[in-house]
Amino acid sequence: MVKINEIARTSTFAWSLDSLPLLATGTVAGAVDVDFSSSASLEVWDTFSATNKNDPIFSAPVENRFYALAWSKPFEGRPKGLLAGAFENGVIEFWDAEILIKSKDLKKASVHKSHKHSGPVKSLQFSPSQDHVMVSGGAQGQIFIWDTKVFSEPFSPGQAMTPMDDVTSVAWNNSISHIIASTGSNGYTSIWDLKSKREVLHLSYSGPSGRANFSHVAWHPTQSTKLITASDNDSCPLILTWDLRNSNEPEKILEGHKKGVLSLDWCKQDPNLLISSGKDNTTFLWNPITAEKLGEYPTTANWAFQTGFAPAVPDIFATASFDGKIIIQSLQDTSPPVSTKVTSNDDNVFWNQISTTETQQPVFQIKQAPEWLKRPSSVSFGFGSKIVQVKKDESGKSIINILKFVSKSQGGSSKLYE
């Protein structure tokens, strides 16, 4: 990893979908500052700005703290998308991102505010297929589906199989637009069908070390029957992959976290990449298909409660932790590791150096290249009007053709190669 930026906030975050993404941050609920201040704010950062990436481009105080933020894709009338915030008091508020950034006025940008939830709202997600549709999940098993174009009355996904406790995470299926998943503190991951308006499946896991307490759920980027869940139970800190065609037991178990897993994000552009973070202060990169741990990023000084890829730039991701920082870093770092070994014989120097070395070098290089770098086809001209073509055949193997370009006179049909 190459650290790109560090934001000194204990905040939950949401990336914008721009190619140079902005980051929205909101003071996270459930944490106290060192000075016991209870203030909260909503801010937006231009973290790739050439001029100033260390100050927010928008900042405003808010009355309550956040559990979650979500940033929609642009849709009709919302050229920079909608920003949605879930507050600890159960309120969900929506802001027009363009007005927010231009006018720098929180009130002016607010387009809707709802008290529909009767307790804290823990999770928000916009639909990947219908840009203006959002799902929210919170206390007392409440899940609502929102139409943010018209803000009609939000509806519930239907009847649950068993009584539900707090919902901690909600996720849209990436290929079937009427399927969502939710996880809750009752130890179940639920699959909902919005068409038949009911919970159609639920998953649970008990292993040798205990029962999974699901904290987070994410769907496979393309395969509709596969999903992944994280458990925040310290005695069972596992990430489980599932294929719903056999929901009795997980397909793969990703073992590595020492304490409960709080967050994960499955890369939309490459199903072979997943990041996770947890109570053991670590952020890991995995291949969730092979269940192989690809690497560990520098640890934080407290729980790493949220991690997420920049959706349009998956080379970049952010991790937020309770040590008051959001670290924005790159997936890969090929520079040779710097030795952090302290060699001095003087005890004082040793302790000074070791305690100021806060972020160590990563202990790995990712051997697995991301999908988006793998050019599948190529063309180049050579001497004598030769064209070299590289392409994939039906079985996915590369073939090279060398052809000769023959230009015919004007008007006549041109013959291209022989």
Binding site: V2, Q332, S335, Q365, V379, S380, K391, K392, I400
Partner: protein
């Protein structure tokens, strides 16, 4: 036609002919580079397999033959390697390693040979480096931030007519274009006053990653830059009378898939575009200044 199947154990990302069109270098996700001898119009022979990279090899580039049999390669492992064939033994070996980048190195391209042995290198770390191979066998490089997010490719400007042999005059001819995941292409020029590369123009027009850029080699007619993008379009850029770069869509209709690469014929009048749909299309400019199809390779 020469068709080479099963050349590598994994995807092939690049294949380029040498100066004479006699030898083909290929690079692959199997971490190797292969060199083939092309015999006539149908036969080929594998000459050697070069191993040394620790990740997929994205691109290869032949140096001008006046420098010897030299090949540059770049990889996900963050390095560019320079390979040389010893004329006596015909054995290939690594003669230089360039590891100034912190992420995947995505492109390597040699400067016009009149400018000397100079290699342009771009990386996912957002930086460009220009490596000089000096006559005494040493190398020196400059590296600078060019795009806010990774850089995918780069291409040298053709040389203006010059008869100068003066190194400092020649150095001021250094000019190239880069393209990146910030949806931009940028033109850079060597600035003698600051002894660095400065941004000369920003080409804004694509709505997604710019995958490849190619500066037309011809100096006879107008100079064109082609950019191929993830947004399924190709833009052709040329300077108007005021020197401002203007864009034109190669074709109004979007391509069926990602435009991965573009390449000019050596005379600069034909552009080839390869897409994620496995097709190569050919384009030329008509008398009205519009770009029209010159056919499709559907082998």
């Amino acid at each position: 036609m020469v068709a080479i199947g099963n050349a590598h154990d994994d995807l092939i990302h690049d294949a380029v002919l040498d100066y004479y069109g006699k030898r083909l270098a290929t690079s692959s996700s199997d971490k190797t580079i292969k060199i083939f001898e092309i015999e006539g119009t149908e036969n080929y022979k594998l000459v050697t397999t070069l191993t040394g990279h620790e990740g997929p090899v994205w691109q290869v580039a032949w140096a001008h033959p006046k420098f010897g049999s030299i090949l540059a390669s770049c990889s996900y492992d963050g390095r560019a390697l320079i390979w040389k064939e010893q004329p006596e033994t015909q054995q290939w070996s690594i003669i230089a390693e360039h590891s100034a980048h912190q992420a995947s190195v995505n492109s390597v391209s040699w400067a016009p040979h009149e400018l000397g042995a100079v290699l342009l290198v771009t990386s996912s770390d957002g930086k460009v480096s220009v490596v000089d191979f000096n006559e005494d066998g040493t190398t020196s490089h400059v590296i600078f931030d060019a795009h806010a997010i990774g850089i995918n490719s780069a291409s040298w400007a053709p040389l203006n007519n010059t008869n100068s042999k003066d190194a400092s005059v020649l150095k001021q001819q250094r000019r190239f274009v880069t393209c990146g995941s910030d949806n931009l292409a940028k033109i850079w020029k060597f600035d003698a006053a600051s002894n660095s590369y400065v941004e000369e123009a920003k080409l804004e027009g694509h709505t997604d990653w710019v995958r490849d850029v190619a500066w037309s080699p011809s100096v006879l007619t107008r100079s064109y830059i082609a950019t191929a993008s993830q947004d399924r379009t190709v833009l052709i850029w040329s300077q108007d009378n005021n020197g401002v770069w203007q864009k034109q869509l190669l074709t109004e209709e979007k391509f069926p898939d990602v435009c991965w690469r573009c390449s000019w014929s050596l005379s600069g009048n034909i552009l080839a575009v390869s897409g994620g749909d496995n097709k190569v299309s050919l384009w030329k400019e008509n008398l009205q200044g519009k770009w029209e199809s010159a056919g499709e390779v559907d082998q």
